[in-house]
C-alpha cells in the first residue's frame, strides 16, 4: 500500500515498515525543543516523574531557545530563563541560546532551521504549537504540551496517533504581490480553523516547488491555524542545499508514494490567488485585501515566526522604499541572524534598516516574539488599548496582541507595508511594479 511522506517518517521513527492513519504508535524523537514559556514547566514534569538526578535521554537532542519574554522587566520571566540556564548547566546541554550572551538567537521557529536543527526525515516535538513550521523541510514536526515534553525529555519517545493526510496541490506561478502568507490564509479561509483538525497538511505542486524555503516555512507555520497536527512539504534540491549549508549531519529524504491515500485533496491554480487578510477575530475570517472595506488602522507590525524572516522584510522593503508610513510601524526581526541581515542587505544602496527608518518606521527592535502574543505589559509593540493593528503574525483571537480591546488583522508583509503607507487596509499590488 502507498504511504504519504508523513506516514513514512512516522513508520521509520517507530521502526516499522508500514503505519496507517488512526494507529497509535510509539515514535522516537530526534529533537525536543522548548522555550522560556514552557521549558520551566517541562523541566518540572521531568524532575517530578524521573527524579531530581535524572538525565535527559540525549543531550544533543534537547534544544532550548528562550524567545518569548526576553526584553521585559518582569521578574518572573527572568526567573524562568534562570531555571533554563541552571538545567542546561546541570545536564550539560550543548544547544542553548542564552539571552545573556552572544549565543542569543530569538524566535525558536526561525532559530531551529538557521542553526541546523531541522533535518528532513526526522521527528521534532516542540512545546509550541507552531512547531509545525518545520515540515517545510520535509520533517515530521508537531507541538506538544509540557507533560508530553517531560516524557520525551526522559525517554526520547512519545505515543502518538498517525494522522490522516489532507493534500493541497497548487500548480502554476503566483502573481506578483501574492506571498506564502496569502496562500495559507486563503486555504485556512476555505477550510476553516478546524478544517484540518488532527490531520497532516501536505502541500505540493509546481507553485509550492517554486517557493523559497522561508516561504515554505510560512505556509507550514500556519497549519495549526487550521487545526493541523503537522504541515509538510516534500524535500527537494532547495531543501537539501539549505540543510547542507547548516549541518553536517546525515538525513533522509522521504516523498509520498503516488499510490498514497489521502483523506481529501484540494487543487488550486496559483494564478487565482490574490493578497488577502484575516479580519478579527479568527484566522479563517479571510477577505481579499482589495474588498475588505475601508478599515482604518492604528499600527502595522512586521515580525514573528510567520512574518519576521529576511524574505518578509525584503517584501516590506519593496513597498516602503522611498515612501512614508503614516501609522506606527513596528519592525521585529525574528532572530539575530535576520537582524544582522537587515543591517547588511541593501536595496537601492540602502540597508533594509536604513530604508525602514527613512520610511518612518520605529527603529527595528531586538529579535524576539515581542508583541506577537501580547506578553508582559512592557513588551515592545504590545497593544494596550483599542488599537487596530495589521500584522504579519499568525493569530488574531481576542487579546492576542495584548489588550482585549485591540483588534489584529493578519496580512502578508506586502499588505502590512502598503497599509502602513495609507493608514487603511490596502491591496499592495498598486505599489509593486
Amino acid at each position: 500500500m502507498g504511504m504519504t511522506i508523513t506516514e513514512k517518517i512516522l513508520a521509520n521513527a517507530a521502526g516499522r515498515r508500514e503505519v496507517k492513519p488512526g494507529e497509535n504508535i510509539w515514535v522516537s524523537a530526534d529533537v525536543l525543543m522548548t522555550h522560556d514559556v514552557c521549558g520551566p514547566g517541562t523541566i518540572g514534569v521531568f524532575k517530578r516523574e524521573f527524579g531530581n538526578d535524572a538525565r535527559v535521554w540525549n543531550r544533543e537532542g534537547v534544544v532550548i531557545i528562550p524567545d518569548h519574554y526576553i526584553f521585559t522587566e518582569d521578574r518572573i520571566c527572568h526567573r524562568n530563563v534562570d531555571t533554563l540556564r541552571k538545567f542546561v548547566k546541570e545536564q550539560g546541554l550543548p544547544y542553548f541560546y542564552d539571552p545573556a550572551d552572544e549565543t542569543y538567537s530569538g524566535v525558536c521557529h526561525v532559530t531551529l532551521p538557521e542553526k541546523g536543527h531541522i533535518r528532513p526525515g526526522e521527528v521534532l516535538f516542540g512545546t509550541d504549537s507552531h512547531t509545525c513550521t518545520h515540515g517545510a523541510l520535509g520533517m515530521f514536526a508537531t507541538g506538544i504540551g509540557n507533560t508530553d515534553a517531560g516524557f520525551v525529555m526522559g525517554t526520547g519517545k512519545l505515543l502518538i496517533k498517525v494522522p490522516p493526510t489532507v493534500k493541497f496541490i497548487i500548480d502554476g506561478v503566483f502573481p506578483k504581490g501574492v506571498t506564502a502568507k496569502d496562500v495559507i490564509l486563503k486555504i485556512i479561509g476555505d477550510i476553516g480553523v478546524d478544517g484540518a483538525t488532527y490531520c497532516a497538511m501536505e502541500f505540493a505542486g509546481t507553485a509550492i516547488e517554486g517557493l523559497s524555503i522561508e516561504e515554505r516555512m510560512t505556509i507550514c507555520n500556519m497549519a495549526i491555524e487550521a487545526g493541523g497536527k503537522n504541515g509538510i512539504i516534500a524535500p527537494d534540491a532547495k531543501t537539501v542545499e539549505y540543510v547542507r549549508s547548516r549541518t553536517g549531519k546525515a538525513f533522509n529524504c522521504f516523498r509520498s508514494d503516488t499510490a498514497a491515500v489521502y483523506q481529501a485533496v484540494y487543487e488550486y491554480r496559483a494564478e487565482n490567488f490574490v493578497p488577502v487578510v484575516a479580519l478579527p477575530y479568527s484566522p479563517d475570517n479571510v477577505k481579499a485585501a482589495a474588498s475588505a472595506g475601508k478599515v482604518k488602522l492604528d499600527r502595522s507590525y512586521i515580525g514573528s515566526c510567520t512574518g519576521g524572516k529576511l524574505t518578509d522584510f525584503m517584501f516590506a522593503a519593496e513597498v516602503l522604499k522611498g515612501r512614508k508610513v503614516c501609522i506606527d510601524t513596528y519592525i521585529v526581526p525574528a532572530t539575530a541572524e535576520v537582524a544582522d541581515a537587515l543591517n547588511k542587505v541593501r536595496l537601492d544602496g540602502k540597508t533594509l534598516s536604513e530604508l525602514f527608518v527613512e520610511a518612518g518606521c520605529l527603529e527595528p527592535a531586538p529579535p524576539s516574539c515581542a508583541a506577537c502574543l501580547g506578553g508582559p505589559v512592557d513588551t515592545f509593540g504590545r497593544c494596550s488599548n483599542a488599537e487596530v493593528c495589521v500584522s504579519t503574525t499568525n493569530r488574531n483571537f481576542p487579546g492576542r496582541m495584548g489588550s482585549k480591546d485591540s483588534r489584529t488583522i493578519l496580512a502578508s508583509p506586502y499588505t502590512a507595508a502598503a497599509s502602513a503607507v495609507t493608514g487603511y487596509l490596502t491591496d499592495p499590488r498598486k505599489y509593486l511594479k
Binding site: H68, T131, G143, T155
Partner: protein, 182 residues
C-alpha cells in the same frame, strides 16, 4: 476514574482559543510550582470578551463556581500551552463538554489529567444557560440537564481511553513496562 461529575455549567461559544482561556501575559507562571498553579486558576477564562455577563472566576477568588464548561466546536484551539487545561483544572473545572476539541488541548487534558474533555454531537451550549445544573455520567456516556431531566449522549473517548484510564501518559508507560517504576 470519577464516574459522575455534577455541578453548574458555564456556557461559551465556538472556537474558544487558548488566548481566551489563559492570556499570554500570565504564561510566565510555571504550573509545576504550587503557588503559581493556584494563581493560574484565578485567571482561567479571563480572556473572554467583556460581553460575558459572568466571570468564570470572580475577581479576588481562585476557584470557580462552575465545575463544568460547555462550549461549541473547536474548543481550545490555538497554542500548545498546557497552561490552558491547567488553569481550568486549577480553578476547579472538572470537565469541558464541547462539540469538538482542538487536538493539542484535548491531548493536554489527557496528559495532565486536569479536566475531562467530553465530546457530544448535541449543541448543548445552545440549549442551556450559565448556571444550569448538569450531570455527566462518564461510564454511561451521557449528560443530563438536571432542571428538565433531558439527557443526551457523549462520544466515546476512543483510542486515548486506555491512557486516561491508566492515569496519564506516565502511568500508562509504567504499566506497560516501557519506563521504570517511580
Amino acid at each position: 476514574m470519577a464516574n459522575i461529575i455534577k455541578g453548574k455549567a458555564f456556557v461559551v461559544g465556538d472556537n474558544i482559543d487558548t488566548d481566551q482561556i489563559i492570556p499570554a501575559q500570565y504564561l510566565n507562571l510555571v504550573p509545576t510550582i504550587p503557588e503559581e498553579y493556584e494563581k493560574l486558576g484565578s485567571y482561567a477564562l479571563v480572556g473572554l470578551p467583556d460581553e460575558y455577563a459572568e466571570r468564570y472566576v470572580r475577581d479576588g477568588e481562585n476557584k470557580t463556581r462552575y465545575p463544568i464548561i460547555v462550549g461549541g466546536k473547536n474548543f481550545g484551539c490555538g497554542s500548545s500551552r498546557e497552561h490552558a487545561p491547567i488553569s481550568l483544572g486549577a480553578a476547579g473545572c472538572r470537565a469541558v463538554i464541547a462539540n469538538s476539541f482542538a487536538r493539542i488541548f484535548f491531548r493536554n487534558c489527557i496528559a495532565t489529567g486536569e479536566v475531562y474533555p467530553v465530546e457530544t454531537d448535541v449543541e448543548l451550549n445552545r440549549k442551556i444557560r450559565t448556571g444550569d445544573e448538569l450531570e455527566i455520567d462518564l461510564d454511561h456516556k451521557t449528560v443530563k440537564i438536571v432542571g428538565n431531566g433531558a439527557t443526551c449522549g457523549t462520544k466515546d473517548l476512543g483510542a486515548v481511553k486506555a491512557v486516561i484510564e491508566a492515569g496519564g501518559i506516565f502511568a500508562y508507560a509504567r504499566n506497560s513496562g516501557m519506563i521504570g517504576k517511580k
